[in-house]
């Protein structure tokens, strides 16, 4: 048995069961584990590429910070709803123009949405938000302020966790809903109905439209994308810094760890990756099996 069953026979060992071979059952051939494959299809990350990709996470964090600072300004009366609305409008128009100019370069095959359709959806959204803002304003009156803040914090965190960073356009339903829930909670604590309306339209812009624009920038102009992310991060830290310097320091630390430290860890730990594959792995079904079925 085993090694004592000396490999005297001259026939080579075969990896088959149907033939009775002149080897003991626990014979270990040189070909043992020859089909083992290690770290197949592994991606070699380069530090700065990962940092650039992590920039998206950083800017989303900053977006949340910017939204919160805007809310702080509004709550303390440092920012009037009219100013916010007008600047939002300007930003939205600028962003829309940029989006259109970028899209004209890519999409040629599929039918693009018409301007009229866009205008229609914008009008519907705005009029409904405007109409409902008095209701939203009084929605959480019976709930204590602490609860509202805690819920907003949890929801914004949920937004950040569930945000689809690889394909942010359209933003995932869970992340978008969490962000809007938080916005409604926060907006209902503002002094007036117009404040609420301004805050909610701003939230729609930051959480729903901005990721779509940024995704397009990332696809078309990757060099500018880094600049935009950096700008948003600086804006976030700066905006928060005027209100609460402590918060700004924390945000800056978080941004630093997300965009610089975590990629470093990823690249460093990559060497320790030891992934083994072989014929024992469960086969994966890659084909689209639903062709013609169920559709």
């Amino acid at each position: 048995m085993g090694p004592d069953g000396a490999p005297g026979p001259s026939v080579p060992w075969q990896k088959v069961l149907w033939e009775r071979q002149p080897f003991p059952d626990n014979y270990v051939d040189q070909r043992f584990l020859e089909e083992l494959r290690r770290n197949e299809g592994i991606r070699q990350y380069r530090y700065w590429t990962v940092v650039k990709e992590a920039g998206f996470v950083g800017q989303q964090l900053s977006c949340v910070a910017i939204f919160i600072s805007l809310w702080l300004y509004m709550e303390q009366g440092l920012l009037s709803p009219e100013t916010l609305l007008w600047s939002s409008l300007v930003c939205a128009l600028l962003g829309y123009g940029l989006y259109q100019s970028l899209s004209s370069q890519v999409e040629s095959g599929c039918e693009p949405r018409t301007r009229l359709a866009d205008l229609q959806s914008a009008a519907i959204f705005l009029s409904f938000t405007f109409g409902f803002s008095p209701v939203l304003k009084t929605l959480t009156e019976s709930v204590s302020t602490d609860t509202v803040y805690a819920m907003s914090a949890i929801m914004l965190l949920a937004h950040l966790v569930s945000f689809p960073y690889t394909h942010p356009s359209p933003p995932g339903s869970l992340s978008l809903n969490a962000a809007l829930f938080a916005s409604v909670c926060l907006a209902s604590r503002l002094p007036g109905a117009l404040h609420t309306f301004a805050m909610l339209s701003c939230a729609l812009m930051v959480f729903a439209l901005w990721p779509c624009l940024l995704q397009r920038v990332r696809d078309i102009a990757p060099t500018h994308f880094t600049g935009v992310c950096l700008g948003v991060c600086v804006g976030g830290v700066g905006g928060l810094g005027l209100q609460s310097p402590g918060g700004a320091v924390l945000l800056a630390l978080a941004l630093g760890s997300v965009t610089l430290l975590c990629p470093l860890l990823l690249v460093r730990l990559q060497r320790h990756k030891d992934n083994i594959q072989g014929p024992w792995d469960e086969a994966e079904i890659h084909e689209d099996l639903d062709h013609g079925r169920g559709t």
């Binding site: 626990n26 014929p279 024992w280 792995d281 086969a283 994966e284 079904i285 084909e287």
Partner: protein, 475 residues
């Protein structure tokens, strides 16, 4: 029940073989073996029939065999099967998928009782899905018994659940004397999973009772071509692939029929396909089949199709070939090792590749250039027999019986060096507690006060003596 019929087939042959064996061979050391697994009859499957058939052949060779499993519903206590095979259905709580829960310790009193009463020398545990098997390995070591483990399945390494189960397997097999795998691929897999020395792992394939699976071409309808699929309808058996193959081939070949035996959550996929393409008369879903009905279904077909995504050995394709069918299968796991190339068409696990493979076999079938069922059966019938499995397993027992069982201090040391500092230390603690528990049990009910069970099988097996006495009385 499957075993009842099989025993009827085997019964007449057993006395003659054992008689011949006694004359021809120097009497081996006889072992007292306890097979432990959560999976046994009335549950149906590959592991169950493996344990039953192996035990029968070992009894035939003069060993004493008892089986320990958990209680199935009202089936509790001791039962005797054919040839005095004693089965303990222990009242342990079933947690999930017929596997018992494990607290490591709670099964010790009952298992100790079985091991001591039966005077067990070798504990043979089956299947890595069975918590009871792992418990038994652990307790057997504490009680100073030698252990063997048979692994029937393949595992990946990628996801969290496999990482955890593989760690548990490492601990469990850390001081198991010998491991049996059913194919070379399975051996490689187990050696990697449990970080084992490959020399304590033997490859002993599964077997198929050729008398159960004989061809019968008269059952076929010769104006059509029938593809038989017999498997549980679950993701791992590739039912989704089957759902892709059926419409593709049925549209091309109007005389093609599918006969599908088996039940499972993916049945809905096949029903949808059947509904959508109006194939009710050509795709028959037979539902769950009992083992004894399998042959009746197999012989109705021309081609046997297996779409598994992972498989350690795959008895189904051997059964199909034994019934004289052309076998088409995916090339996964240990399947390429099982049948020679002239008996099987191997395909990649994709709809396209399987369709291409089936097309060539269908074309061959139409042109009549396939070998006859009888000639295929003749080739397959002696490839995998339970006698051969038992002979090879006996060698494993012989080897294991001579090995020393590590004393507690060296066992602890081995656990800690082999299983890593964290898991090793935890399980070393468990080993100590298990040891103390055994001491407590031995103090409460000393071994010498325990009733010894009457041997039904084995060297002084009463079952056989009784039978021979009866035989002589008749003569």
């Amino acid at each position: 029940m499957g075993q009842r019929r099989r025993s009827a087939v085997k019964a007449p042959s057993s006395p003659s073989v054992s008689a011949a064996g006694e004359v021809a061979r120097v009497p081996h050391k006889k072992h007292k073996i306890c097979m432990v697994s959560d999976f046994f009859y009335p549950n149906m499957g590959g592991v169950e029939s493996h344990i039953y058939q192996l035990s029968q052949c070992l009894i035939e060779k003069g060993h004493k065999v008892v089986i320990a499993t958990h209680a199935y519903g009202r089936r509790k206590g001791v039962r005797y099967l054919t040839n005095g095979l004693k089965v303990y259905y222990l009242p342990l709580q079933v947690m999930y998928n017929q596997s018992t829960s494990t607290t490591v310790f709670h099964s010790l009193p009952l298992l100790r009782c079985v091991f001591v009463r039966e005077g067990i020398t070798v504990v043979h545990a089956h299947s890595s899905f069975s918590a009871m098997a792992h418990d038994a390995l652990f307790h057997a070591k504490t009680m100073g018994l030698n252990t063997v483990f048979t692994d029937h399945s393949l595992f990946g390494f990628a996801d969290v659940s496999s990482v955890l189960t593989n760690k548990l397997l490492t601990v469990s097999l850390c001081d198991t004397n010998h491991i049996v795998c059913v194919s070379y691929t399975s051996k490689e897999n187990t050696v990697l999973r449990a970080a084992l020395n490959p020399e304590i792992v033997s490859v002993i394939p599964n077997a198929v009772d050729p008398t159960d699976f004989t061809p019968d071409p008269s059952q076929r309808q010769d104006d059509t071509i029938t593809i038989v699929v017999i498997s549980r309808l679950v993701y791992r058996k590739g039912t989704d692939l089957l759902g892709g193959i059926i419409p593709e081939l049925c549209l091309k070949h109007p005389d093609l029929h599918f006969l599908i035996g088996g039940e499972g959550p993916k049945r809905i996929v096949l029903e949808e396909v059947r509904e959508k393409y109006q194939l009710h008369d050509r795709v028959r879903l037979l539902g769950a089949l009992e083992h004894k009905d399998v042959r009746g279904v197999l012989v109705q077909g021309h081609i046997f199709l297996n779409t598994s995504l992972t498989e350690a050995f795959c008895m189904a394709i051997v059964e199909g070939a034994s019934c004289g069918l052309q076998v088409v299968s995916t090339r996964v796991g240990g399947i390429p090792e099982v049948l020679p190339d002239d008996l099987i068409t191997l395909c990649e696990p994709t709809v396209r590749s399987l369709c291409a493979g089936l097309e060539t076999v269908i074309a061959k079938q139409r042109s009549g250039s396939v070998p006859s069922p009888a000639s295929i059966h003749a080739k397959v019938r002696n490839l995998y027999t339970w006698r051969n499995v038992a002979e090879r397993t006996e060698k494993v027992y012989d080897r294991v019986a001579g090995e020393e069982v590590l004393p507690l201090d060296r066992r602890l040391q081995r656990l800690r060096t082999h299983c890593g500092p964290v898991a090793g230390s935890i399980f070393a603690l468990f080993a100590v507690m298990d040891f103390l528990f055994v001491l407590l049990l031995q103090w409460l009910v000393p071994d010498r006060f325990m009733d010894m069970a009457v041997d039904a099988t084995g060297p002084q097996g009463l079952w056989r003596q009784e039978k021979s006495r009866k035989d002589s009385a008749i003569n």
